[in-house]
């Protein structure tokens, strides 16, 4: 059976559009609410990234940090995150879920136990921000055995030679970081420049799906819609923070935002 992540890309291609990937932090602002958000945005998002909050994140900007600290403060634990995924999958069996986080959380859980839990909860892919290639080779192999995609990150600083090696070892989906930035930075390079880099990467192995993330908002997403997929994270976390501040319902507001994002890439 094909991994639901690949099916999601296939479906988007049939509809002649980029896949929309969302990122929210597990447990933000509560366990229940983050599950409600996933359920409600799954109508418009093709793939759902669920952040595993960590309190010393070295690659996240202020929006995701705020969400992560909020979730940790509200008591989210690793096992709660698996439960959220499991509960989500009960209602949305074929909707792909990717967990994204930092390696220490996996390391403490135990790599093998972590992957077994992922498998039984229904996780389809993993992004580990601070486990780059070649350090991730062994772990990526373990993921493959469980039919979980290990998603490699590629950056504007990744050399041509390194790109080739990473892509050669990679699973069907990779993640291109649009610019030198933490998550949620202002887009400091033009969409054309980003797409130029994207095309360069795509040419190495056209069969591999490449999504673009970092700095993508309502304003910029339309200009990048020729990519295989686009990830929006900080803009969503910001919407949650804003809703809480204004005592509005984050679930409806985030849902509206995701719908709008989707409309820009159709």
């Amino acid at each position: 059976m094909l991994n639901p992540i690949s099916l999601a890309f296939k479906k988007a291609k049939q509809e002649n559009r980029a896949a929309l990937l969302t990122y929210t932090v597990a447990g933000d602002s509560s366990k229940k609410q983050s599950l409600d958000i996933l359920n409600s945005i799954s109508k418009n998002a093709d793939i759902l990234e669920l952040g595993v909050p960590h309190n010393t994140p070295v690659a996240d900007g202020s929006q995701i940090q705020t969400s992560a600290y909020r979730a940790i403060k509200n008591g989210i634990k690793m096992n709660d995150i698996f439960k959220i995924v499991k509960d989500f999958k009960k209602l949305n069996k074929s909707k792909p879920i990717i967990l994204m986080g930092y390696f220490n959380m996996i390391f403490q859980y135990g790599e093998n136990k972590f992957l077994s839990k992922c498998k039984s909860a229904g996780v389809n892919g993993l992004i580990v921000v601070d486990l780059p290639w070649p350090e991730n080779k062994n772990f990526a192999k373990k993921c493959k055995k469980k039919s979980i995609y290990f998603i490699q990150l590629l950056s504007p600083t990744t050399s041509e030679q390194r790109l080739k090696k990473i892509i050669r070892d990679s699973h069907p989906m990779n993640y291109f970081i649009s610019m030198l930035s933490t998550t949620g930075g202002k887009l400091k390079v033009s969409p054309n420049e980003i797409l130029k880099n994207y095309t360069k990467i795509k040419k190495i192995d056209p069969k591999k799906e490449i999504v673009i993330g970092f700095g993508i908002t309502e304003k910029t997403i339309g200009k990048l819609k020729s990519a295989d997929g686009l990830v929006v994270g900080s803009a969503i976390c910001k919407e949650i923070s804003k809703s809480l501040r204004h005592r509005q319902n984050p679930v409806t507001n985030v849902s509206k935002l995701v719908k709008k994002l989707k409309s820009k890439i159709l």
Binding site: H54, N55, T56, P57, V58, A59, D60, G61, Q65, Y69, I72, K77, M78, Y102, F103, N104, M105, F107, Q108, Y109, V129, D130, L131, P132, W133, P134, E135, Q152, L153, L154, S155, P156, T157, T158, S159, R162, I177, L180, S181, T182, G185
Partner: protein, 414 residues
């Protein structure tokens, strides 16, 4: 797990940057892989380059002020009774602490790589102060990341950083101390690594930063070795080297040249920050058996909960207030080459009182932790044992804390 002889410890990591196969490494976002590789290549080349070493030594001698004094604390020795207590007064160095060595080397490297900006983290403010001094000296623009809590408690150093023309960036996330300053500094580097060099303020972070810092602070033990031979004719038969350990840069530098001696001859004692006596929080991952985890790009023993969230620390000494510890020290602990213990806030204050009562030496709260253990152990040792404490920082920066905790009479007038 074994230490190899005749190879500098900083060069004993494997290809992926792990000491003993499990401490250190490069757990970094993809974006940092290239700047780290570039820095690694540059450092590996320059550390073998005689011209570069000459340049380093010139600045260490004429600008940092080498060698720093090695003195006998006669009154303290008489008071304690037991081993001879000596001190390597590293706080003599320009700026008042050992952080100047690493800062100087990072600025020299930044110049070689053509970078115009340099950033750094700081806890007690010394790493920041020294980096701002060196940046000014070498014409680099400098930003220092510092936790808001540390900014409040280490004002003299904050003022010095600003006076040197550097920008102080307050960090409000998490516990607002060193751990958050390092995270924020790394985040800034992720976004600006094309134009900016990063200096990690201790022997922590991705492997190359551990190596550069250890290489730089080893100046301390190079000097000490010469001074010991000058005074005693040879390396003493019973030598004990006491040093406080936060990230571990001064202790590593204080011990490095003695690594190959048998530990029965040259024993290393690292003193971590035990925190307030009544608190469960501490900054002593080695002493209290913290589990191995990943912090700031490296695998190390680190205070954390079962899930892997990094735990808040607590210590009177901002410079030791760090939940992790250098991979080099994890390696030294597991190979049993060094012994680690902790002193509480109260122990450190009491040692500060004792030292300043008997000697014209004013160790900051960080080395006061080391003095506390050295004094306790020296009592039980014989007269032919040479105890040396690295007085790696000056208490001027701790004025306000000392006035608050001990009263004005323990602080020299401004």
């Amino acid at each position: 797990m074994r230490i190899k002889k005749k190879i500098p410890l900083i060069d004993q990591a494997n290809k992926l940057g792990f000491w003993g196969g499990k401490f250190g490494g490069n757990f970094v976002p993809e974006t940092l892989k290239k700047p780290i590789d570039d820095l690694e290549n540059l450092f590996n080349k320059l550390k073998k380059d005689k011209k570069f070493i000459g340049e380093r030594d010139k600045y260490f001698k004429n600008w940092v002020g080498a060698p720093t004094r090695f003195i006998k604390l006669k009154n303290l020795t008489n008071h304690v009774g037991g081993a001879q207590i000596w001190s390597k007064v590293v706080s003599d160095a320009n700026g008042g602490a050992h952080k100047i060595y690493n800062a100087t080397v990072h600025c020299l490297l930044a110049k070689r790589s053509g970078k115009k900006f340099i950033i750094g983290d700081t806890g007690a403010g010394y790493a920041g102060k020294m980096l701002s001094m060196a940046a000014k000296k070498f014409g680099l623009k400098c930003k220092i990341f510092m936790g808001a809590k540390d900014i409040a408690r280490q004002q003299p150093n904050v003022k010095a950083i600003k006076k040197n023309g550097a920008e102080v960036i307050p960090v409000y996330s998490g516990s607002q101390t060193l751990v958050d300053a390092v995270s924020e500094c790394m985040r800034y580097w992720v976004a600006n690594c094309d134009t900016t060099a990063m200096c990690v303020g201790s022997t922590v972070g991705p492997a190359v930063f551990v190596r550069i810092c250890g290489w730089s602070t080893s100046q301390i033990s190079r000097e000490l070795k010469v001074q010991l031979i000058d005074v005693f004719g040879s390396i003493p038969k019973k030598l004990k080297l006491y040093n406080c350990v936060g990230g571990g840069s001064s202790s590593f530098g204080f011990w490095n040249e003695f690594m190959d001696y048998d530990k029965k001859q040259c024993e290393f004692i690292g003193v971590e920050a035990g925190g307030p006596a009544k608190s469960k929080k501490h900054a002593a991952p080695l002493t209290y058996g913290s589990k191995i985890g990943i912090l700031h790009g490296a695998a190390q023993y680190v205070n954390q909960d079962l899930d892997g969230q990094i735990e808040e620390t607590e210590s009177i000494s901002a410079g030791l207030d760090y939940p992790g510890i250098s991979p080099l020290h994890c390696f030294l602990k597991d190979t049993k080459r060094a012994r680690y213990t902790a002193a509480s806030d109260e122990d450190a204050l009491s040692a500060y009182k004792t030292v300043t009562k008997f000697e014209k030496l004013r160790p900051s709260l960080e080395p006061s932790h080391a003095f506390s253990v050295a004094i306790k152990e020296a009592k039980k040792l014989t007269k032919d044992t040479i105890v040396v404490v690295n007085s790696c920082g000056d208490a001027y920066k701790d004025r306000e804390i000392l006035i608050k905790r001990l009263g004005k009479k323990y602080v020299e007038p401004n």
